[in-house]
Symmetry: C2
Subunit: 333 residues, 2 copies
Amino acid sequence: MEVTIYEVAQRAGVSIATVSRTLRGTGPVADKTRQKVLKAVEELSFTPSRLGVSLAEGRHAANGIVFPNLAGPYYTEVLLGYEEVASELGRSVLILSTKGRSQVRDLVKDLAGRVDGMVVFGQTVPEDLVAELIAAELPLVFLSRDPVPGAATLRSENTAAATRLAEHLRGHGYDSYAFLGAPYAVGDDVSERWAGVSAVLGSAIEPVLTTEYTVESGYAAALELLRSRHRPRALICSDDEVALGALLAAEELGLAVPDDLAVTGWDDIMAARHARPALTTIRQPMRELGARAARTLDELITGGRAAASTHHVLSTELVVRSSCGVHPLEESP
Amino acid sequence: MEVTIYEVAQRAGVSIATVSRTLRGTGPVADKTRQKVLKAVEELSFTPSRLGVSLAEGRHAANGIVFPNLAGPYYTEVLLGYEEVASELGRSVLILSTKGRSQVRDLVKDLAGRVDGMVVFGQTVPEDLVAELIAAELPLVFLSRDPVPGAATLRSENTAAATRLAEHLRGHGYDSYAFLGAPYAVGDDVSERWAGVSAVLGSAIEPVLTTEYTVESGYAAALELLRSRHRPRALICSDDEVALGALLAAEELGLAVPDDLAVTGWDDIMAARHARPALTTIRQPMRELGARAARTLDELITGGRAAASTHHVLSTELVVRSSCGVHPLEESP
DNA sequence: TTGTACGCGTTATCAG
DNA sequence: CTGATAACGCGTACAA
């Protein structure tokens, strides 16, 4: 098997306590003794068992993060920011994607048993399980959901941005709109976006459902919509991938964007900038979201329950490109 | 703290052995006893400590995966395929990105201590550490690197695809080429791609270095190259993101693609399809790469050393779109 | 400065 | 069918 601390102790002619002290720098060790120990460690290439350490220390030195879905740029950008900070803070990161999984409960509980705390995207874990985890006092940071007592939450601003976007489009003079998005739950990002745009556009906009937030489903939904009798003049999509699908559908139908049809997205993923026409969208600080979540979680774990009631909202930015219409003056790369 | 098996045993009026047997279904338990135990478990909402289980079982039921970088669609697509399969096989997944980290050795060793095996992208871990891990008999699957004795390897086909691509471009009649890619090491993907294209194009192609594989560095390198006196007629980029950057540079210089300049990428990420002109590229089965890696690793862990010498190469596909030139007949979405 | 012995939470062997 | 008890690998009071 693996070499244990006992073998090291024996070889160095000391007790395991001395080996532990030497390696961790806790407590005093005579210089000469230290040398013997380090020599034995070197010769046996000893590495303390993570399991043993965790069991004794009573902590995992690891965090988890739960996504609805690992496909697409949005979540992976958040993950990037998260992993970077978590790793910097000396914590390993475990991931779990719930997409298409039947045993979500078990998977989440298993994950919970492997970490000192975790970040959870809204709408990925059933509410009763959420309550269970909070009751167990597991440090928790939720992303993109309404505040929960006993856990920190973090999200990007949606409603005000949606308002700005809607007003911008109205400024182009369009008279009919559609909002393209999959079924959304109360308190999630998309419901907030809908609230923002519908507040401005009123009865001029109507919601249209896609099956999911992917290029394919955006394409399919847009195709059907654009072929219908009441084709809207502008399409506000709930995320960039849906918008890219809409662009594809427009192209297939021979509709010019933005002249025949305006299209906007949300998130500002890489492809948004490279699409032609380039996509007008709302930029979300995805990496920052992940990074902040990692820091907040760390505070929750180390600092105790103090930070448990922090609820932050990161600001977003309207990025005007060309898919929403022609702009004589403004232009943003 | 947490509720332990002892409390359950006490409450049920049995020994911890009986609790364990009941919960795991190992060994016989009288029906009546079982009921008592399950009741106690329910009332205390007991969940066995993962640490205790792992220590006793001698396994983590977790795997790791090491990336050079979590940014960009390529690695995250691989991760997606990996996580899906690993999770299905009942293994948690730990991730580690080495990009910009100073203590890679320590991070990798720590990860190694938390898992039953791991997947490692080539060029992320120093060779001596690789040897160390193999010597420790840790099950290992390498991605995109030359075979290593003692570990399985898996990669996408590069050279033949590069040859096909080069021949296709030559068919367009171009006379001068540049290959855009960051410094590459022997045995990595990009060196194989260069080998393939240079074998066909000979002295008509010359390598140009970017600083990394990103849109930004592709843009910068292309800008400089395209402004030089000997502007090539075609740009073979080592990956799609570099190619997207090149497209941006061409646009800025007023060069029409493909009429003034042909551009090709590699990987077929989402943005490749949505760029205008749409990018001709080599499609790599990224998800499949991750999925296969997870399965191979599982075999290594469970099946013993049998599969340790498997070396698979997944096939790739030339995707002809419009950025490489006008095609009277062929066209592929 | 060093060593002993116990605790951490399971699983599994071996008597009964 | 059930119960002690020995691992598993380490950290650390406490004693020396």
